[in-house]
Symmetry: C2
Subunit: 395 residues, 2 copies
């Protein structure tokens, strides 16, 4: 990590733990709190880099697992690295690939050296250890990189979680030792499941290592929302104030607002883009499904005061028609709206922190938005059931 | 049709029958020869109106059949007409809906009054006569509208084609008589199958009616390319010089170049966009399939001197990756390239007509492009077989 990487808290909320910061990388400065759109396969689904920029996103996330299977990190490296390959020249955060590998369930086997798994594309056996995760990310040439961690299911027993957390700690050291690139900053990951003492211990241990920033892993995996909230808030409080904090895999509007209140600086999630492709669109009143009959002849945009390209150019009726007709344009326009919604939300939260009005903003937002909590809960349950199923069959 | 509609031949090629013109409508002027991208369901598949404009397209085609089934022309009319509905404010040509109805095969029955058919969406029985076709198009509020014609399969016997052609003539008169909108210009359609005398007769009859322009229907339906060429060239020669001529459903690069040489001014086809979504991309050397292995690490664009957004921003390797990964962005970027390719081809042909060098342009283009003729032939055959199949089962 070179000297171009730094992080600065520029303003803190006097009431909550929220803070506004500036995260600098050689490829650009990211005002925080920030939301990172997810580009699993070298593209934010349906969008061009120019459109991503238009949503206000300053940094994106790319999945090392997907890219290492296809087209392969060697190919990306030969083509000049990830930025040139996908045409996004702002900062990129790469994950370690571990989360996707653990999601394979029966197709993966964890050992001290690393994880043995099979490609979901062609079944060939592969190996990912801490050193490999670092090397893959160095080859992709992203700006922020993540350590390899072992992420247990949220409802795993305490002993299993303890072992996974301790292995995560040993792997964190190995990642730090093998990381060489001066053009990339490495972030550590706190595990510990839903057990407060394991989380505290993990936060203390990971924070003692010289990472550029610290992430909260293993959350929002299907556990009840109250548990996510309690664990994330408690863990964030144990991370060093002067370093960026990253809550992985969180991206529903209500969770973003809560996360900022606990002092989180970075978030990523495929949720806004994934639900968009199902016609589920964010508004300040909660989610709406544009596929539904009431929108058939609504000549107004999805949200009247939204400044996204979709709302500036098209009626809800047109989106409704495109979804009903299964036109690919539907998925694009919906994706643009949801991304702009969450990124504008981050911008407004940052502005309110700067102005000292974040607690009011938070209260007002949640008072109106809370309506759709139930919907979110159902999706969490579906995710939880899916995670359980995949764990039942082993390698 | 109001006085804002006019057409002017501004320059003619002294050797071939090619001509450069200006087609004026209340919503804009279209330099001809011109290619119209096809938006079946109120959208050029995958693209926004802004992107269509960026390809250089000045006029687009919309399908009355699709829009009348979904969302329904009443809905489009209540939402302010097709332009406002889809956000495209340039000229729009609507077809009559007849071609799609006849393509339904067993689901349609032709009578003198019109065509009885069933919706391909829900099977409900519907009726389309000349007056209905005109009324639907008036409600959609496109700028150019087409008469309802009866389009027989290309290999139908002479007597069937003769009857269809005569019915087309009677329907043309009924369309003219029922057309009222001063904001819309109506075009007649010549039929006559592959029979030169029937074509001549039809051209003479249709040209005797006071249409704004004249179209060649019933071609490029799977007949051998030599037949399409001979019939289209012969028929075009019988149409009035001072009126726009439109060759319906033609859009492969080599056919566009030939069509211009016969004096055609307007073309439309879903071919450039449809093959794009299969990864088949136009280059001056012929079509390439970007999905193929040679493109995996090609860090250059699809075509080096192409000025389309895709070629300016992305490598062939990235497109290859997106197609292999089935990312929706692949279909967009390929569509943009192929549309820009055919529209730039039209622009270059027009420039060469203005400069008096069209015969050289045509010769040079076809000398290099002809390589892929075989590929096109296979697609024609597939189309022809499909047409046959659908005709075998009747209402």
């Amino acid at each position: 990590m070179g000297p171009e990487f730094h992080f600065q808290v520029v303003k803190a909320c006097p009431t909550t733990k929220a803070r506004a910061g500036l995260l600098s990388t050689p490829r650009g400065v990211v005002p925080t709190p920030a939301f990172l759109p997810v580009g699993s396969q070298g593209a934010i689904k349906t969008l061009t880099p120019d459109e991503i920029k238009d949503t206000g996103a300053k940094m994106i996330l790319s999945n090392t697992y997907h890219l290492s299977l296809r087209p392969g990190v060697e190919t990306v490296a030969r083509l000049g690295g990830l930025h040139h390959f996908m045409g996004w020249y702002g900062p990129i955060l790469t994950d370690s690939g571990g989360f996707q590998v653990f999601s394979l369930g029966r197709l993966c086997q964890v050992k001290e050296e690393g994880v043995l798994f099979r490609s979901h594309l062609d079944g060939r056996p592969l190996f990912l250890g801490p050193e490999e995760a670092v090397a893959l990310q160095e080859a992709l040439d992203g700006d922020l990189a993540m350590v390899l961690d072992q992420c247990p299911a949220w409802d795993e027993d305490r002993e299993t979680v303890r072992q996974a957390t301790e292995r995560t700690h040993r792997w964190a050291i190995r990642c730090l030792e093998s990381h060489r690139s001066p053009h990339q900053a490495l972030l550590g990951i706190v595990q510990g499941g839903v057990f407060p003492d394991l989380r505290r211990e993990s936060a203390r241990f990971i924070a003692s290592l010289p990472f550029f920033g610290y992430a909260l892993g293993g959350l929002s995996l299907g556990e009840p929302k109250e548990v996510t909230y309690a664990v994330a808030e408690e863990t964030a409080a144990h991370l060093p104030w002067e370093r960026p904090r990253y809550l992985m895999g969180v991206g529903s509007p209500e969770d973003l607002v809560e996360g900022v209140a606990w002092g989180i600086d970075l978030f990523d999630s495929a949720l806004p883009t994934r639900v968009a492709r199902n016609g589920s669109l964010f508004t300040r009143q909660g989610r709406i499904n544009v596929d539904n009959a009431p929108f058939k002849e609504q000549d107004k945009p999805i949200e009247e005061n939204c400044d996204c390209y979709t709302c500036r150019r098209f009626s809800a009726a047109y989106l409704h028609h495109l979804f009903r007709s299964q036109e690919l344009l539907a998925y694009r326009l919906a994706t643009i709206h949801n991304l702009r919604f969450v990124i504008r939300l981050m911008e407004e939260m940052r502005a309110s922190i700067m102005e000292g009005t974040f607690p009011t903003f938070r209260r007002d937002f949640l008072a109106v938005y809370r309506l759709t909590r139930e919907e979110t809960r159902q999706e969490q349950k579906a995710k939880w059931l899916e995670n359980r199923r995949s764990r039942e069959i082993r390698f």
